[in-house]
């Protein structure tokens, strides 16, 4: 990234002179603001239409001859199948309340990143093809023909939306740009337009069970490596099982948690916690992914990838499921899984074997968020911990988009952090809870070629972090999302380099007093406890 933070903050909110209805995207000039297209091999593997090698900078995108008809028919079908689409197409009054609620608009000033105009990109086609006014009056009524230029604009802007749903909170009709983006991406998929950062994880997940394409033996290696790390840090040998039949609980996590820093520290936290309470659980190398990039592809793909969670719980004869810290995974688990792949009538009521608490709010889906599970443990005094081990950390909490705006999981993680840490500071109120800002890299946009737009989109979040860093000395940005842990790390390095990113269960793992443990000299990152003060003394 050549541009400095200072450059990036020179944002011009003055709209261009040109009418928004006349599209033209210069992909060469906009490098850094779009993602590479899906590789043909991945589309072929998934059985998706029009697999080929192409680039957005090409003049010819190698679309099928009847691509307009395909998209028209696809839109028609979806208007019949989804009330959301129809109501959202018809109801917008362009009041502008959503305009400056989008992180991409705030960070870029590009008016087509206003949710209202992002939706108009599709709505103008809907008007032209499906409404009386649009058919009669065309452009005056806000209708546009679907030209190649419009389609290119779709590709640019619908892959500049992270489906975070912040605009939907402010819309007087609840119009949800995530829905609109999902439909637009579905339609683009019909003619072979998608991005590789989405489609490769989907193909990987379908085949190996996880987005990263980690095969079973590597999965075991990674887990064993982290078990060894834990033994080194705590002196305690934890013993997770994999694909074990009859384990009471199937534990589902995002694959980034057993792959890379800083997700692995969260994973180490889970393992310590479950060892501490003696939970009868198993991981699965087949259902080795909680995340679901199908959400960024199409509704059918969500279902295809999500299928294996219940299937594996059934095969292993688990009683119920706990899910780890992951944002979009929980959008799927909370709002789609039961409908798509349920009913989970082969599972039993989710009752904590440690406290006896019945998780009534998961009565049907039978999948409990680990923050709910752990909050209940702490409330019932089932965990011993030493808060002071997190004293090197001055923590703020980033509400991940989906747990907040799809679930309302707001107070549980805060309860956890406050239980195991002494220093916690909230960011300003318009940037947290249901009004939280996206990391800038959700919905498959967290790739390197899209770096400028990522950093712009993440700016509102980073700016709020900077505020608590400046005013309260915050040095840890805690979150409950795997994409966040990856994307926010880059975001902080750019905007607020003094702040690092952690999961919530990493903090819990630090504080847990394990039976038979050695005196802890380091945190889970293998950094000496009392680090900064120790250095000052020296």
């Amino acid at each position: 990234m050549d541009k400095t933070p200072k450059d990036l903050l020179q944002i011009d909110y003055t709209p261009p002179k040109k009418d928004w209805m006349d599209p033209s995207i210069d992909f060469e000039a906009k490098a850094g603001n779009w993602s590479y297209p899906g590789a043909g091999k991945n589309l072929k593997y998934l059985g998706f239409p029009n697999p080929r090698e192409w680039s957005p900078t090409d003049d010819d995108w190698q679309l099928p001859d009847n691509w307009q008809q395909i998209i028209h028919d696809g839109l028609k079908e979806r208007l019949k199948k989804y009330r959301s689409l129809r109501v959202f197409m018809d109801s917008c009054v362009r009041c502008g309340a959503c305009a400056d609620k989008c992180h991409f608009y705030i960070g870029s000033g590009d008016p087509k990143n206003m949710p209202v105009l992002r939706a108009e990109l599709l709505r103008s086609i809907y008007r032209n093809d499906f409404t009386l006014m649009g058919k009669m009056l065309g452009r005056i009524a806000g209708g546009r023909k679907l030209t190649k230029e419009v389609l290119k604009e779709w590709f640019y802007y619908f892959f500049q939306c992270t489906e975070c749903r912040r605009c939907s909170v402010f819309c007087p009709y609840g119009i949800d740009t995530a829905e609109i983006t999902m439909f637009a991406r579905e339609l683009m998929n019909l003619v072979g337009l998608n991005i590789n950062w989405v489609i490769e994880p989907v193909a990987n997940c379908h085949r190996t069970g996880n987005h990263l394409g980690i095969q079973p033996h590597t999965f075991v290696d990674n887990v064993e490596f982290l078990v060894d790390e834990l033994e080194e840090i705590t002196g305690v040998k934890v013993n997770p099982s994999i694909n074990r039949k009859g384990a009471e609980i199937l534990f589902i996590i995002p694959s980034a948690d057993y792959f890379a820093d800083p997700g692995i520290f969260t994973f180490m936290g889970y393992l310590l916690l479950f060892e501490h309470i003696g939970l009868d659980y198993t991981l699965s190398a087949y259902a080795s992914e909680g995340g679901n990039f199908g959400l960024f592809t199409s509704h059918e793909t969500i279902k295809r990838l999500n299928y294996k969670i219940y299937a594996e719980a059934k095969r292993l004869k688990s009683k119920w499921i706990i899910g780890g810290e992951c944002g979009h995974m929980w959008r799927v688990m909370h709002q789609y899984m039961d409908t798509m792949n349920g009913p989970a009538d082969f599972l039993q009521q989710p009752i904590s074997p440690i406290t006896g608490t019945y998780f009534e709010n998961a009565a049907s889906t039978k999948m409990v968020h680990i923050c709910e599970f752990t909050a209940d443990l702490i409330r019932n005094n089932k965990i011993k911990f030493d808060k002071s081990r997190n004293d090197d950390f001055n923590i703020t909490f980033h509400d991940s988009c989906n747990p907040s705006r799809a679930m309302g999981l707001l107070d549980e993680p805060r309860y956890l952090i406050n239980s195991v840490c002494n220093n916690f500071h909230e960011m300003p109120e318009n940037t947290i809870r249901e009004q939280t800002f996206c990391c800038g890299g959700g919905a498959g946009l967290g790739n390197d070629e899209n770096m400028e737009m990522r950093l712009r989109g993440g700016m509102p979040r980073a700016n709020a972090v900077k505020y608590v860093h400046d005013t309260h000395g915050v040095n840890i940005l805690s979150c409950i999302c795997a994409i966040d842990r990856a994307v926010l790390t880059t975001l902080m390095e750019y905007w607020v380099p003094e702040v690092r990113v952690s999961g919530v269960h990493e903090l819990i793992g630090n504080a847990l007093i394990m039976k038979g443990e050695n005196e802890r000299k380091t945190n889970l990152r293998s950094e000496p406890l009392g680090g900064t003060e120790g250095q000052e003394d020296a």
């Binding site: 989804y82 009524a141 075991v220």
Partner: protein, 330 residues
């Protein structure tokens, strides 16, 4: 330019009355036929629109949650922002429909000189919208005095209430002033705010101009261009009782008002004004956040191609065994 297109359209309507009624004497066409057409188009159009919406299934339960979920019993649930049952949803919808809850959240983003992004409360849009919609409803109800004989108690009461400030003769009506003020504010922000001007389309201006036309033509009849009220009531009662008559001497200003109203009704089902119905049917607002508690059924839940455990084991069997994981088949 887009505003001008819309303004010209409304001005054209005005011209139409002067030509049609003033010069050509088509009182029956403008006083009876057009209003009937308008009512029919409005009713049929809105019923059709709502049936289109209601006829489309809701495959997924996708509320936009805006508060703490129902979770552990000792965590306080925000029942209005994260409703978990029908009653809570009713509360959330009532707040949305009657008080425009979501719009009340509105903020305006700004960058301080120290490059801090701040979000200032911005309730003017909320206030103007709420004022407009409530005034429109009250004025609509007040007009029932023209369609009902005897005039119901409630309608008279509203009239009296509205005229609480007895400033003028005939009595100054609060709703008249507020609705014009609110509409001018909504128009002004579209014209003056660069971002809003950029996103506004002719249809956005047309809705505002026609509503302003309705309001101003109505007000002008009351205070300036007096019309024969007895004759107007005779016409409106005739329309309601399906025995239409056009009494002589009603006056041109009334026909202007009537045509504006008729066009508003005809335009309604084909425009963004259908948000009146849409707000009730929005799946992000009218569903409970109880997804994990109660299963939501998708009526067309499709069969999809999946990658089964057996397929997975078949592909990776050697590696699975080498890693010491149990397999289903050796």
């Amino acid at each position: 330019m887009r505003a001008l297109t819309a303004l010209l359209a409304v001005a054209g309507l005005l011209g139409l009355v002067y030509v049609g009624v003033g010069l050509a004497g088509q009182q029956y066409l403008f006083g009876v036929v057009v209003p009937y057409v308008a009512i029919v188009v409005f009713l049929v159009g809105m019923v059709y629109r709502v049936l289109l919406w209601a006829g489309a299934p809701v495959p997924f339960r996708i509320p936009t949650v805006s508060g703490q979920q129902k979770s552990l019993p000792w965590i306080h649930q925000d029942k209005l922002e994260s409703p978990s049952n029908g009653l809570h949803v009713l509360g959330r919808m009532a707040l949305e429909v009657l008080l425009f809850r979501s719009l009340f959240r509105n903020t305006r983003v700004a960058m301080t000189p120290a490059q801090r992004v701040v979000y200032q409360s911005d309730k003017l849009l909320w206030a103007a919208s709420l004022a407009f919609h409530w005034c429109f409803l009250l004025i609509f109800l007040r007009h029932m005095r023209f369609f009902l004989e005897p005039v119901p108690w409630l309608v008279s009461f509203l009239d009296g209430f509205d005229g609480f400030f007895q400033l003028t003769v005939p009595t100054f009506l609060l709703t008249n002033a507020v609705i014009v003020g609110a509409l001018l504010f909504l128009l002004g922000r579209r014209l003056l705010d660069a971002q809003l001007r950029y996103i506004s389309m002719p249809s956005d201006y047309f809705a505002l101009f026609i509503l302003l036309g309705v309001a101003l033509s109505g007000i002008s009849m009351r205070y300036l261009t007096k019309v024969d009220l007895v004759a107007v009531k005779e016409l409106s009662l005739g329309l309601v009782t399906l025995q239409p008559v056009v009494p002589a001497g009603i006056g041109l200003p009334f026909f202007v008002h009537l045509l504006f109203v008729s066009v508003l009704f005809i335009y309604f089902p084909f425009s963004k004004l259908v948000h009146m119905g849409g707000v009730f049917l929005s799946p992000t607002r009218n569903l409970a956040n109880n997804n994990r508690m109660r299963r939501h059924v998708n009526p067309w839940n499709p069969e999809v191609e999946v990658h089964t455990y057996d397929q997975w084991e078949d592909e990776f069997r050697d590696k699975i065994k080498a890693a010491g994981i149990a397999v289903e088949r050796e």
